[in-house]
């Protein structure tokens, strides 16, 4: 009984958050609505007793992705969306059709075929299990991912450094 109510409340919040994120012209409001959606999603994960995923959802999506979005938005002009430029989509009918088509042909069969248990079961102890899995069978994947991320990080540093070096050269010329 209680979990169901909680589910519906969280689902409602999530849907509302997602809608506001799409509809609001004010980018900052949109980002925060998106974060509400993320938070509600984390709540849904908790409801499924997947606490680690919930924590990661908050940590990564709210703590990192959201902030990254905010940073990106802060670098742009007209965050409040006060200007009169119209961004209303014109071919909304075809968009809707495409969305419905995706839902009907991909998601619906998946939902129907999935064999969900009546109530969620916790994996005891979930985090430890996950850690062991990551370290034993999936260690190669993990390492490759780590390598990829390190490469990306170094690349980012190189890009940032490059800009600085260019600037220095410019100022030397001047």
């Amino acid at each position: 009984m209680t979990p169901e109510i909680t589910f519906w409340v969280l689902a409602f919040i999530a849907v509302c958050g997602a809608l506001v994120a799409v509809v609001r012209r004010n980018l900052i409001h949109g980002v925060f609505a998106l974060m509400i959606f993320f938070a509600a999603l984390a709540g849904l994960f908790l409801l499924l007793l997947a606490e680690f995923i919930a924590a990661v959802q908050i940590l990564v999506y709210i703590g990192a992705v959201g902030i990254l979005l905010l940073f990106a938005i802060m670098l742009t002009e007209r965050v409040t969306g006060d200007d009169g430029r119209s961004i209303a989509a014109r071919g909304w009918f075809w968009g809707l059709a495409a969305a419905v088509a995706v839902f009907v042909f991909l998601l619906l069969p998946a939902i129907q075929e999935a064999d969900l248990p009546e109530s969620a079961q916790s994996i005891q102890p979930s985090v430890k299990e996950l850690g062991l899995k990551l370290m034993a069978p999936y260690v190669v994947t993990l390492e490759v991912l780590a390598l990829l991320l390190t490469a990306a990080l170094i690349g980012a540093v190189a890009v940032a450094q490059g800009a600085e070096v260019n600037k220095k050269e410019d100022s030397d010329d001047a």
Partner: protein, 390 residues
């Protein structure tokens, strides 16, 4: 939902919601008093019991401040985003309060009359979660958003600068914070706050090991930055940005920010106590289990006193120095620390000689790394000799 469960939930949560906000009041008094004494002033000493001349060392000051805050006009700047301006202080408080439940404050001794309720309490306590420490870091991260929200919604340049500073600072210092906690998590092999505290029973506190000490220092420094305490109080740098992101806040909204900040301080000090200082461990805890809560709070308060002491002593860093300190000093040293603790973990229980050797070598490596990084980062900064003209 049974009645017993409701009682259990209430017992598990209400003390947190009562104790910490009242401790907040006490801490504001303590901070003002301690800062005053550090600065050779008297601090609040007049406000005591109303309508009498009993001063009570100024203990009535927090109440008076609270009343003042409540009755102050709430001003929203013209052109500010009213909704976000309102939401920001609330958003600052929610995660701060939320993370408190991940501190192993066990109030099950309250339910002496019913064994089953005591059991239920243990079942609903947040720190018993398997990923309590991870949850702690995840939810503290939300704090950043509230600061940004406040800075952006105030439509004030100082606020905006403060908000931007806060985001950069909080993100940067979250990394050393988490990495230093990783050392303890590795040692214990669990993310459960209760298990981490229990693993340190018998004075095996992690702060008494070289890697634990290094991790503790890094954790404490990063915690100062996470809670915007001096010397990392750049987002609210008074001499530069008036009051940073809460420049435009007054009245109770400001009080909420203040409350959130102090609760975060409690929470992060509590986590430091759990990770490095043995949680609620202390003398006579075995005899009187409720003493664990007392010891835990005592540890929190001693950490907070150090924070106040630092605030009374140090000037603040500059933005670039702050970032350099996080990325070029704390981050490398905490990664090396993780490496060392991993090796130490593998060499554990191999006799006293090996342990002593590991300790000595790790202490040496950590110190040399710290000195080397310091030399590397601050090559030109040193005291100078001065000449005199006759």
């Amino acid at each position: 939902m049974s009645f017993e469960l409701v009682v259990a939930i209430l017992i598990a949560t209400v003390p947190l919601l009562v104790i910490f906000p009242s401790l907040f009041a006490l801490t504001t008094w303590l901070e003002r008093k301690a800062l005053a004494r550090i600065q050779n002033r008297r601090g609040p000493n007049k406000v005591g019991i109303p309508c009498t001349r009993i001063g009570l060392f100024g203990l009535g000051q927090p109440a008076a401040d609270g009343i003042k805050m409540l009755f102050k006009e709430d001003i929203v700047p013209n052109g500010a985003d009213r909704l976000f301006h309102l939401l920001a202080p609330i958003l600052a408080l929610i995660p701060a309060m939320l993370v408190l439940c991940f501190l192993p404050l066990d109030f099950s001794f309250v339910a002496v009359w019913d064994e089953s309720i005591a059991k239920d309490i243990k079942a609903v306590q947040g720190f018993a979660l398997d990923g309590a420490v991870i949850f702690f870091f995840a939810i503290t991260g939300i704090n950043t958003l509230s600061v940004f929200m406040a800075g952006w919604a105030s439509r004030n340049k100082y606020s905006l600068l403060g908000g931007m500073r806060a985001i950069a600072q909080m993100i940067s210092y979250e990394i050393p914070l988490v990495l230093s906690a990783v050392v303890v998590v590795m040692m214990v092999g669990s993310l459960n706050a209760k298990e981490i505290a229990d693993a340190q029973m018998g004075w095996n506190w992690y702060v008494f090991t070289p890697w634990g000490l290094a991790a503790f220092i890094i954790f404490f420094i990063a915690a100062l930055a996470e809670t915007n305490r001096s010397p990392f109080d750049l987002p609210e740098a008074e001499s530069e940005l008036i009051a940073g992101y809460f420049t435009e806040y007054s009245g109770f909204k400001f009080a909420l920010f203040f409350l959130g900040e102090y609760i975060s301080m409690f929470a992060i000090s509590g986590l430091a106590a759990v990770l490095f200082l043995g949680g609620g461990e202390g003398p006579w805890v075995a005899v009187y289990p409720w003493l664990a809560v007392g010891w835990f709070l005592a540890k929190i308060f001693s950490l907070i006193f150090v924070m106040i002491w630092l605030r009374g002593t140090l000037p603040r860093l500059r933005v670039d120095q702050l970032m350099a300190f996080a990325w070029k000093f704390l981050l490398p040293i905490s990664i090396i620390n993780i490496l060392i603790s991993g090796i130490a973990w593998h060499l554990r229980e191999q006799g006293a000689a090996v342990t002593a050797g590991v300790w000595g070598v790790s202490l040496g490596i950590l110190y040399v790394t710290a000195v080397g990084l310091n030399k590397l980062n601050r090559a030109n900064v040193k005291p100078r000799e001065y000449k005199y003209a006759e």
